[in-house]
Point group: C2
Chain length 138, copies 2
């Protein structure tokens, strides 16, 4: 059962979808590790579905349709917290990532590459604070 | 001196600006605390300026111009790491936030509000892993 299922209408209607042709960017961050997993977009329906179900739904600009993250892979994202920015035009989902894998390439995060002075590499991110997911604890 | 000043051209030219009318979304995360500070957009010039100077530059959709973050407030963002997502259409800046304040409202992060079942509140984010910035250490 989603915590936000009975959210008052004025809170649902906060987001400024007009600024970008009906879409709002959303950042998804793993709540246990702090890792930024991906950036995607919400349209009003994906926003409603995310709040109603408690699982991240996005709007795919390429496929031009709503998708539930993990609908085929099983790697769903359970939303623990929903934050909204100062201008009401961006959203932050803090999630538990099922399977530990957000990226379609099989990596934990879509941001698995870093720009070094020589070019792109797959170094781990410098996250001095990086937490450990409860599932990965010894 | 920016680490990325002499980055090979093929690495600079990676980003897919065509997908969204010349813009790419960028997430900015505090490298010491792991907090997501803001979401903004890059155009090719803001991208080049960020790499050339090592300080975050963004494209303002409202003002239709490039801005250096902190140009008036002094709250600049020194880029520690630049990460690119699997589709080359989103960027993650890991930064040191000067002054500890990214939001124009004076808060640390633009995502200072959370959606509870009753509506928006200013609760601190649930970040079990949240690190402490060296400047805030006792």
């Amino acid at each position: 059962m989603s915590r936000w299922r009975r959210l008052p209408e004025e809170a649902r209607d906060l987001l400024d979808f007009g600024k970008m042709g009906g879409l709002v960017p959303v950042v998804t961050q793993e709540v246990h590790t702090g890792e930024v997993l991906m950036v995607a977009f919400l349209d009003p329906e994906a926003w409603e579905l995310s709040l109603a179900t408690g699982y991240a739904h996005y709007y795919s600009r390429t496929r031009r349709r709503i998708w539930k993250k993990g609908e085929t892979s099983g790697h769903v994202q359970r939303i623990v917290e929903v934050r909204i920015d100062c201008d009401n035009d961006a959203v932050l989902f803090l999630v538990e990532q099922e399977g530990g894998t957000a990226c379609h390439t099989g990596r934990r995060s879509c941001f698995y590459r870093t720009l070094t002075p020589q070019g792109l590499t797959e170094e781990e991110a410098r996250l001095p604070w990086r937490g450990v997911s409860p599932k990965d604890r010894p």
